[in-house]
């Protein structure tokens, strides 16, 4: 009993969301004025009663979490997984006291520190040194604690030279490194982390993951949300799988959870994605379709090991911007990203893609992917500026890769992430007698 450090009991969280009801067919000025007056009276009434203002004239309750029960023991490292909108972030927000539950209760024993975003409260005008103290205080460290760990934080972030430069002059990489360095030196009993490893370059991610592992290994309780199943698998020993605001599976074995998650995901992603009309609305690039095509140019759901495959992404580019680029990410069924590839990879100088309807094709080379199920996600971005279609929420398709057995020795999927077919050479330098006789 004393081991239970967090207990959730019938936890629920409800939000009010508004809709516009069906509009009258004819819009006359008279109607607009009448509706405006009606809305004004209604919101004035809401305000008098101290209610929340909701846009639209139909209010609906939306349960982001419903009847959540779980127990977490001291020293557990729990991965919380689920699709976007499954309620993971809401759960973390409740546990870190940012928002209160609508129903149910949670009992927590011990100091909680939550890391829902990297660099919360960083002020661009302040220097790196000042921001370390500010951010540390925001995350709950005392000034003495920060001073004690200051050199360690600076060394971890690798920003010694820029310590007295305002962070607004930092590169985005430096900014993220500094922000994570502060957070990584928190020492609470319970650490809550939301998808913060998705930023920074690969090497730094690895370093962060290592640091997180140290934290987890130190007997602390960690709750970790990520879409990176590889990271979840390496870090966590327990799993909670959320779906539509409810606990679908809680397991002491993280692999069971990941497998359950992978199963439900695969069923939902088809081999062709077409924009339904109002998805990914933005002012830069609107993806139109994503598919895998075969030699004949027709969409297919199956890739053949020997032949590789071609990914086709079409869309409309609305601006002329030399920083614009699209990319694809290739994921294994468990969510581990294998690699990603950008249209800029083959550019030798600055390359500006003219606006208009575009079709990108990229070849995934033959003899590379292992047998199994894969997902491809399309991403669009302005280089070094921002994501237009961000990884984690971009359009996805899935496909099967089957091995084509050219060698009789290669008869099943192999251990390992990829299964390249590499050229081997065998040379006889000296023929051994015994074998020559035989």
């Amino acid at each position: 009993m004393s081991d239970v450090i967090i207990r959730a009991d019938g936890l629920g969280k409800c939000y009010l969301i508004g809709h516009e009801s069906e509009r009258e067919r004819y819009i006359a000025l008279r109607d607009v004025i009448a509706r405006g007056a009606r809305d004004l009276v209604r919101s004035a009434g809401d305000m008098m009663r101290g209610r929340q203002l909701v846009a639209g004239n139909e209010v609906e309750e939306f349960w982001a979490l419903k009847d959540i029960n779980f127990e977490i023991r001291r020293g557990d490292v729990v991965g919380i997984i689920g699709r976007n909108g499954a309620g993971k972030s809401t759960l973390l927000k409740i546990l870190s006291r940012i928002t209160e539950p609508s129903t149910g209760r949670v009992e927590i024993r011990g100091r909680v520190a939550s890391l829902l975003e990297v660099g919360t409260g960083f002020h661009p005008e302040l220097t790196g040194r000042e921001n370390i103290f500010l951010n540390g205080a925001i995350l709950g460290m005392s000034r003495a604690e920060i001073r004690w760990k200051f050199d360690e934080i600076v060394a971890f972030a690798e920003i010694e030279k820029f310590l007295d430069t305002p962070v607004k002059r930092y590169s985005s990489g430096m900014y993220v490194r500094l922000a994570f360095a502060v957070a990584a030196h928190l020492e609470p009993e319970i650490l809550i982390v939301d998808e913060v490893l998705a930023v920074g370059d690969a090497e730094f991610q690895k370093k962060c993951l290592g640091k997180m592992k140290d934290v987890a290994g130190g007997g602390r309780t960690v709750l970790f949300v990520s879409h990176n199943m590889g990271a979840v698998q390496r870090l966590c020993n327990q799993g909670i799988f959320l779906e539509d605001g409810a606990v679908k599976l809680q397991s002491g074995n993280i692999d069971t959870c990941i497998a359950a998650y992978a199963d439900t995901r695969m069923g939902q992603i088809s081999s062709v994605w077409v924009n339904s009309g109002d998805e990914y609305k933005n002012s830069v690039f609107i993806p139109g379709s994503l598919s895998l095509i075969g030699k004949d140019g027709e969409p297919q759901a199956q890739a053949i090991y020997e032949e590789g495959c071609t990914v086709e992404l079409s869309g409309t580019l609305l601006v002329k911007d030399s920083d614009f680029a699209v990319a694809i990410s290739v994921y294994r069924a468990d969510g581990q990203r294998l690699f990603w590839s950008s249209v800029h990879d083959t550019a030798t100088g600055q390359r500006t893609i003219p606006p208009g309807k575009l079709r990108f094709r990229v070849q995934i080379p033959p003899r590379l992917l292992n047998e199994g199920n894969y997902e491809i996600e399309a991403v669009a971005y302005l280089h070094n500026r921002r994501y237009v279609v961000a990884p984690g929420s971009g359009p996805r398709i899935s496909f099967d890769n089957s091995l084509h057995y050219t060698s009789p020795y290669w008869d099943k999927s192999r251990d390992g992430v990829i299964a390249p077919c590499l050229p081997w050479a065998v040379e006889h330098l000296e023929v051994e007698r015994s074998s020559a006789r035989g």
Binding site: M1, S2, V4, Y15, M47, Q52, L53, K93, I94, L95, S96, R97, I98, T99, E100, P101, S102, T103, G104, R105, V106, E107, I108, R109, G110, R111, V112, A113, S114, L116, E117, T120, G121, H123, E125, L126, E130, F133, L134, A137, I138, L139, G140, S142, R143, P188, E189
Partner: protein
């Protein structure tokens, strides 16, 4: 986080909640842990202790606001001097020279005006900055827990820095006119506290409302502008007819400004006691209402912001 620091006294109370609390406190070598219960509509029992534990965050936020305030401005800190000085000149000309309103006793009119402007600027800058503070710090509110009361109160520190500068200007003006304050000046700190409390009351109330209804963003500048003329900043409150004086004092700023003048103007300005007590009562009542409303709504800030 600081709030989760072990609190032995707290443990004694929460120990009664469940056997686990007792058990963990009995473990040798470990200090007892606090049991935190999150429930809908549950009032935080250790709110004021929490607030105390977050004092370093309070200091950091205040320091951040102060140090960022005049960054990337050409004349920097001089803004803190120019604004009140020009206001004083204009008020002296309008109320003292054109309208020919009487001063308190033998006090030079600019000194009278400046002594009234000191608390007024303190009041108005706390009111307007604090009211927007939660909205401007929404990234913090949405991502980290701390007692939300810290954010609007940290704003008061910035206003106090400007206040200190203004006080130095007043000293210079008084020296220029050869005007000396007497012993009553020792009460000045009390009135500074009163001014801060008088502004925090309405500020907290409006801050909480502003999170939900952004209309208040437009109301605040209006209140500040309006209040400057309604409050006895450019004139002495002794100008107000005797029959109306008490009702006039229900404006809490009247009591604060009168108190400041009483302290600073060396016995030339008299304190109208019934009015002052009325102002004081209004300050306390509004502060209580403000804190109560703020605390009632702060748990939903993250959802609304």
């Amino acid at each position: 986080m600081n709030s989760f620091d072990r609190l032995p006294a707290e443990e004694a109370r929460t120990g009664a909640v469940g056997p686990a609390g007792v058990q963990s406190s009995a473990l040798p070598g470990t200090t007892p842990e606090r049991l935190l219960i999150l429930e809908a509509g549950r009032a935080e029992r250790n709110y004021w202790q929490d607030l105390w534990h977050y004092r370093e965050l309070f200091a950091m936020l205040a320091w951040r606001d102060v140090s960022v305030r005049y960054k990337q401005t050409v004349i920097g800190i001089a803004w803190a001097i120019v604004r009140p000085l020009l206001t004083m000149v204009v008020f002296t000309i309008i109320f003292g020279n054109l309208a020919k309103l009487p001063s308190d006793g033998a006090v030079p009119y600019p000194v009278l005006v400046f002594a009234g402007m000191l608390p007024w600027f303190l009041f108005s800058s706390i009111l307007s900055d604090a009211s927007n503070s939660i909205v401007t710090n929404s990234n913090l509110i949405a991502k980290v827990y701390f007692p939300r009361l810290i954010v609007p109160s940290a704003v008061a520190v910035v206003a106090l820095v400007d206040f200190a500068i203004n006080l130095a200007i007043l000293a210079a003006i008084m020296a220029w006119y050869g005007f000396m304050p007497n012993w009553q000046i020792v009460f000045l700190p009390l009135f500074v506290v009163l001014a801060v409390l008088a502004s925090l009351g309405p500020a907290l109330f409006i801050t909480a409302l502003n999170v939900k209804y952004r209309d208040f963003r437009f109301i605040i500048p209006f209140i500040v502008q309006f209040g400057l003329y309604v409050s006895p900043v450019g004139f002495s409150s002794a100008v107000v007819p005797e029959t109306w004086r008490f009702w006039y004092s229900l404006n809490p700023v009247v009591g604060v400004i009168d108190g400041f003048r009483w302290c600073l103007l060396g016995g030339e300005s008299q304190l109208y006691m019934p009015g002052f007590l009325a102002s004081l009562a209004v300050v306390v009542a509004v502060l209580w209402l403000g804190i109560r409303h703020f605390r009632k709504t702060e748990r939903t800030f993250a959802d609304l912001i």
